[in-house]
């Protein structure tokens, strides 16, 4: 059984011009010890999807559908139940690690309070756990680090401390929203290694959100691509990146700097802009930018096409059905 099973999740947000659906009918799951990647352009609903797992939607935001965590329905949880779930069973880290850290309190105070709040352990036991956690996330000289304030660390070290906080109560699921986007590649590589190791040692499930397909390639087992609040394609990382089958995924991959025609300085790009909330096009939302769109695409919301037991697209036209070779890029 999967650790997380999401069915028909729809998130409605209040905007200046009425309610609008930021996430539409999304269904996916995350297995025990699995790393799922979620990618898509800005505004595609990645963060709102994550926040609805934690009961942290913005003011007036509403989620409907079903979110089963470890067999229990959690979407209907009370505020209190969500509070217990967060931190203890599902933890989250953000692009800016300071979102979950206080700049002026020592690392020791923050880590031990957190441990004692959720685990009801003695001060000494909490301190020892804190030291262990810092060692786990590879902070050099954990004892000295405990006495320091987060603001005294570099961006990469802060993200490690935020991960230590997230791990404190041994959650089963870690949601990471753009965890390395603000970091240098040299530092990012270290965080990727760490997440890999945590999955291996703790059988931690991870849902990682990023628009960086390179990060997803090295980190994830499976990837889901979102556009305008909906899934457009999902599959095993290898299948999806080597043999993308939805026109949008295909475009994203072709736009990577390494993939454009080798002699030209020009990169391939998807023309146009992602649609804005409240203004999602009808039918297949991608039809306004899709080179393969047919008249029918403007009408009905695309049904799923299963390509194999793990790879699926939401594009009935399926324009690349002939393509079978791996690694092909248009």
């Amino acid at each position: 059984m999967n650790l997380l099973t999401v069915e028909n999740l729809t998130v409605t947000l209040a905007t200046g011009s009425g309610d609008a659906q930021a996430v539409r009918n999304l269904s996916f799951n995350v297995g025990h010890g699995e790393i799922l990647g979620v990618a898509g352009e800005s505004g595609s609903g990645k963060t709102m999807t994550a926040l609805s797992m934690l009961g942290l939607l913005p003011y007036k935001g509403k989620a409907s559908g079903s979110i089963k965590f470890d067999g229990r329905e959690i979407l209907t949880s009370s505020k209190r139940e969500y509070r217990d779930l967060r931190g203890k069973e599902i933890a989250m880290i953000f692009q800016d690690p300071m979102t979950s850290l206080h700049p002026m309190l020592t690392v020791e105070v923050q880590l031990t309070e957190h441990l004692r709040h959720h685990r009801k352990v003695s001060k000494d036991a909490a301190r020892n756990s804190a030291l262990e956690l810092l060692a786990t996330v590879k902070i050099p000289e954990p004892a000295a680090a405990l006495r320091a304030h987060p603001s005294q660390f570099s961006g990469g070290m802060r993200q490690r401390i935020a991960i230590a906080m997230a791990l404190a109560c041994e959650p089963k699921l870690l949601i990471a929203d753009e965890p390395t986007t603000a970091l240098d590649v040299t530092v990012q590589a270290g965080i990727l290694k760490l997440l890999h190791q945590l999955r291996k040692e703790r059988n931690l499930s991870v849902m990682v959100i990023t628009h960086d397909l390179g990060v997803l390639s090295s980190l994830t087992d499976r990837i889901m691509i979102m556009y305008a609040g909906s899934e457009v394609e999902s599959g095993l990382t290898t299948d999806l990146l080597r043999n993308p089958r939805h026109p949008y995924t295909k475009g994203l991959i072709a736009a990577l700097p390494g993939n454009s025609a080798s002699n030209s300085k020009n990169l391939l790009s998807i023309d146009g802009m992602p649609p804005e909330l409240g203004n999602f096009p009808t039918g297949c939302a991608f039809h306004t930018r899709c080179n393969y769109a047919k008249e029918s695409c403007k009408g009905a919301i695309p049904e799923v096409t299963n390509l194999n037991s793990t790879h699926r697209i939401f594009c009935p036209i399926n324009p690349f059905s002939e393509v079978t070779s791996a690694g092909s890029q248009s």
Binding site: E41, S42, S154, G155, G156, M157, D184, V185, T186, V187, Q188, A189, G190, L192, K193, H196, H211, D212, L213, G214, V215, L216, S217, S218, T237, T238, D239, L240, L241, R242, G251, L252, I253, A255, L256, P257, G258, S260, K265, N266, L267, L268, S269, I270, D271, M273, P274, G327
Partner: protein, 323 residues
């Protein structure tokens, strides 16, 4: 090929609580017309500071920048000297660099009006420029908040173009954008450089994009240039351990489970630069002498410059592998 910018031994200092911090420490670089020079390095290494010194926003404490035959002077609040209007900068933050309360058209036309163009004509020209960067002409009447990040970056580009620049310093112009707008804006810049035969310094921490669009690449570490060469030299056969580390850290989006290599240790702080080779505390190949002797830039047999004792002037580069 005409040399449009010559940066000679430029150092820049900031004052931090009364202590001098040298964020750029003796940089030599040149830029030719029609060329894109990529400038890469980890955050805090001094890229933006160098960019600001090139256009005269910051005054260097040593050395000088020569633009089109004339020494760049520190900008004052008044009118930008005629000659230097052709040297423009596009800033890292497309949100911060536009005024939220003024119409886009006026902001672009400003430079033209200052240069003496009648307002009506300047606004028409602004609409032309917006069209040039792929935005609708009626964007002149709108405000910055009505545009997405990618569109705002195009607006900043249009504003820089208004001065008919012959050289542009573009500071992380696409870092804040989505993958698809990144490619669009990068293409726009490449085409503009071509069309107007400008020179461009393209500052980025992302070597994979720099590699695509640049002709030459300069790699910066803690205020110093450690390697400069053609894109092919830098990408295919990096000769400085730091360049090698930057390349090895880039993840591959190829569906293999390739694990990028991290570079342990913090990006160092210019408050207290290490002795000798500034990279030595993080360099897996450091020798004893690296702790005390600072390696200067040397020109290798293939024409590139590198600052590392493992390389010998005049010789072909020795292949660098880290482990």
């Amino acid at each position: 090929m005409k040399e449009i910018l010559n940066i000679k031994n430029v150092s820049v200092e900031y004052d931090r609580h009364g202590r001098k911090v040298r964020a750029v420490a003796g940089v030599d670089l040149t830029l030719n017309s029609g060329e894109i020079l990529g400038l890469v390095g980890e955050s805090g290494c001094g890229k933006s500071t160098l960019g600001k010194a090139i256009v005269g926003i910051l005054a260097p404490v040593t050395g000088e920048v020569v633009f089109d035959g004339e020494k760049v002077k520190k900008l004052t609040r008044g009118k930008r000297p005629e000659h230097f209007r052709n040297l423009q900068m596009i800033f890292q933050d497309p949100y911060g660099s536009l005024n939220p309360r003024r119409k886009i058209g006026v902001q672009i036309a400003d430079g033209l009006i200052v240069a003496g163009m009648p307002k009506k004509l300047a606004l028409l020209k602004a609409a032309d420029l917006l069209e040039k960067v792929g935005l609708p002409r009626n964007a002149v009447d709108r405000f910055a908040h009505q545009f997405s990040g990618g569109q705002r970056q195009r607006i900043s580009i249009a504003r820089a173009l208004a001065a008919a620049p012959t050289a542009i310093i573009a500071d992380e112009p696409i870092s804040a954008l989505d993958t698809s707008s990144q490619a669009q804006v990068a293409n726009l810049l490449v085409n503009l450089v071509d069309e107007f035969d400008m020179g461009m310094v393209f500052i980025s921490h992302d070597l994979s994009i720099v590699r695509r669009i640049s002709d030459r690449v300069a790699v910066m570490y803690l205020g110093k240039i450690v390697e400069v060469g053609t894109v092919d030299q830098i990408w295919n056969n990096p000769s400085h351990p730091y360049t090698r580390a930057l390349i090895s850290a880039i993840p591959h989006a190829d569906g293999t489970s390739f694990m990028p290599q991290d570079l342990p240790g913090d990006v160092p702080n210019p408050m207290s630069p290490p002795s000798g080779c500034r990279f030595h505390p993080r360099c897996p190949l450091a020798k004893e002498e690296c702790k005390t002797q600072e390696p200067g830039l040397r020109k290798l047999g293939d024409g590139r410059d590198v600052a590392c004792v493992l390389q010998t002037a005049g010789n072909q580069p020795v292949t660098i592998t880290l482990n």
